[in-house]
Amino acid sequence: MAKVSVQFTLNGAEKAEFIDSGTTLLHALRDKIGDTSPKGGCHQGTCGACSVIIDGELRLSCLTLAETCSGAAITTTSGLSEGGVLHPLQRAFLDAFATQCGFCTPGMIMAAKVLLDHTPNPSRDEVVEALSGNICRCTGYEPIIQAVLTAARSNSQNAARGESKKMELRKSYFADQRKDDLHEIGQPRPRSDSPGHVTGKTAYFADRNFPGMLHLKMVRSPHHHARILSIDISEAEKHPGVVKILTAKDVPHNVYTILILIQIGPEDETVLADGKVRWKGEAVVAVLAETERAAQEAAAKVKVDYEVLPAVFDMEEALKPGAPIVNEYHGRNYYLYDSGECRKVRFGDVEAGFASADHVLEQTYQSSPIEHAPTETTGCIVAPEGNDRFTCYTNTQAMFFTLDNASIILQMPGNRLHFVGGTVGGGFGGKVDVIVEPIAILGAKLTGRPVSFIYSRAEEMQISSPRAAEKVVIKDGVMKDGRIVARKVTGYTDAGAYSRHSPYGAQKGAGHYPGPYTIPNVWIDTYCVYTNRTPSSAMRGFGVTIGDFALEVQMDKLARLIGMDPLEFRFINAYRDGDMKAHRQPTEGAALIECMQEASRAANWPVAEKFMAMSSYAKGA
């Protein structure tokens, strides 16, 4: 591998390094020089997290070869603060709550700095345009835009500190329900992690580099459903730089399921495919090599012979008799609950309710899978320790779930596994699936070397679990006066090929319907269905969110049907403290009435005075 010398200034300091030719500036800065403030979110020029300033121009360090930067002056976010005093942009990001996970923040600040260097008093449109190459998945952009405008104002006033935006806490609601005598809780406070985010000092799992670290790349199924006839790794093993290649037989307990920890089985998923693949993208062979490039090249030399099988992608098709069986560990294309083929909630007499209703409306709602698309991809770095223990630096959102499942999969006592979490660069529920850690630990165990397994952007988008596709059928009986007297919901959750968290998601749906409304007659069935699609799993309110979309669209349709204002219609049916929910939990702490009252004011959507006088915890009004 040809080494080349490269010299440049980084944040004013001279740097000279010998690097491998073809190394990106991002890798050179992070792995050779140790400035980890530029982040690798996509390595394809899409997310902007790696943005740096080269000779006054904003550039993407992931697409810039380091050796083309000789003689250049490079600025990164880690170099902006001077003598411990934050740059006005950093201060403004801090004050405006413009950081959440913090992974995009260094890139955002770079883009903003170039803007303000050339345009000290930008318009809002100019700020939006300047940030248009930087993706934030957490904040919704508005606080970031406000932070840049604030920093511009503070610059123009030649002040180090911008206008600080104070968090507003509306304490008039439920004032009689609490004492409000706490010093921290209930008080506006700056986020404790923001100073690290705005200076690029927050450590994410990948901000580590161990000598001799191996890189793991996965050979994946190109088919939705196929039998594996043979796997030939002989050519790949001979490839220069390859240290170890893993197949199913190397994994001590290869068939697992995450929720077995809470007795939700059966074990139904393979760490590495064994005999069959059940979705396109399924992990088949793991390649460990000295460099990412060598691992990629060797992965291309792994030969897998498949016999393609019929696949099923549609939940209704999957539930029909004679449909291809997706997952033999279940033996049927739905999850068998202790309640039978679905989770069931029965409350009152729903058929009698429909019979007494003035109108009955049945509608079907469907959603597609949704990817979380965190700017930081799923991954971990595992370091073998001298005492036969393994330290796993991971961005999992489910630390102990992952540790315990890794212990089962590796048949290794938990006390040999040391998991180190920390700040996650955007999760949204997408990093709870115990996918990268067990195989990376196994690789470290079998090679005795540190192992890095980090999803590429393509893997993050196509391999990591999305929110499940759902189908929701809602049938309602409603009276002319606005009361809903009966609601029947049939929900279908597309788990994809494996359970992961979906049986739980479908169960949550059963508990969540009929939504935040008090309805005397309710019938709920929710199914968890297997198809040959990417396994789905958790995502912000999974099992609930799509149901809420369906329920609220249905509520609008019902209001329209009886000619009633949709907000007033919701006031009539809103649940209140003490109401019995369909799954027989009494309602507590319902604030829906007050929330809608505030929404009515904020949206300038007036409702009748009697609704504004209602209360969640005082019946009668």
Partner: protein
């Protein structure tokens, strides 16, 4: 094989180096380095040239020559190319525009390559060390062209005759659903006397909308006047399907956006 970069001071030497297997020309890196990052192991050697002419823009007597290494940002801010500024500005965010080159854009597969749509409408000529070739010829066989494109040349469009529209789903900007570039000339009575229209994302590379061009001749730019042109807007299209839009969707919305561009 590990990646390596070879830098040559002349295009001639870089062209010679490109004859070796496993080589790829490196412009701004937004395509070539991305491919390597994403696991394309077919390329083991990047080749680039630092010949100064590659980075030059000359505008003289209504003729424009843009070196292949010129970035979108350089075009967008050039005072003599203000009519094209909008098209150059449509490419990527600020960092991408500081890196992405005209030469690279010519090779960008759909949904990328918006500026090439503009160059196709402008009837550009591409220069190589082996001679010039029209952009349409180039686009047909660009995969098999191994010579470095050194520059693009075209005549500056008459004032107000060049129109460009990029449609994306993300504001203020995102990757193209489609893009349209048009050079329209009108007679004193308002009728279209010549039309050259190019479409992006309506095939795997930029294409001419020849049926639309013909149907516009002699027509005035009113809803009624352009109706026949819109009716044939989808002639010969074979749009891409990608995560942004299906081929069906692109075909459905093309006449709508084309209509807006023509009536603007």
């Amino acid at each position: 094989m590990a990646l390596a970069l070879q830098t040559f001071s002349t295009v001639k030497d870089a062209n010679a180096a490109l004859k070796a297997a496993g080589t790829r020309y490196l412009g701004g890196g937004t395509l070539a380095v991305r491919a390597a990052n994403e696991g394309d192991v077919s390329v083991s050697s990047f080749i680039r040239s630092t010949e100064p002419s590659l980075s030059a823009i000359t505008v003289s007597g209504g003729k424009v020559r843009i070196g292949a290494s010129v970035t979108m940002a350089a075009i967008a801010r050039h005072p003599d190319l203000s009519s094209l500024s909008h098209a150059a500005h449509a490419v990527g965010g600020p960092a991408i525009r500081n890196m992405a080159t005209v030469g690279g854009n010519l090779f960008a597969p759909a949904p990328y390559g918006d500026f090439t749509v503009a160059l196709l409408a402008l009837d550009a000529t591409l220069s190589t060390d082996g001679g010039d070739l029209p952009i349409e010829t180039f686009l047909v066989k660009r995969e098999s062209i191994h010579a470095i494109v050194t520059a693009v040349g075209f005549s500056l469009p008459a004032e107000g005759s060049f129109r460009f529209l990029k449609v994306s789903r993300i504001k203020p900007k995102g990757i193209s659903v489609l893009s349209i570039a048009a050079v329209l000339e009108q007679a004193p009575d308002g009728t279209v006397s010549s039309a050259r229209i190019a479409l992006g994302c309506m095939a795997d590379r930029p294409m001419r909308a020849t049926a639309t061009e013909k149907a516009l001749l002699g027509r005035i730019l009113t809803s009624h006047g352009i109706a026949p042109a819109l009716a044939v807007a989808n002639d010969g299209t074979a749009p891409i399907t990608d995560p942004l839009a299906s081929a069906w969707y692109r075909n459905e919305v093309l006449p709508v956006h084309l209509g807006r561009l023509l009536l603007a």
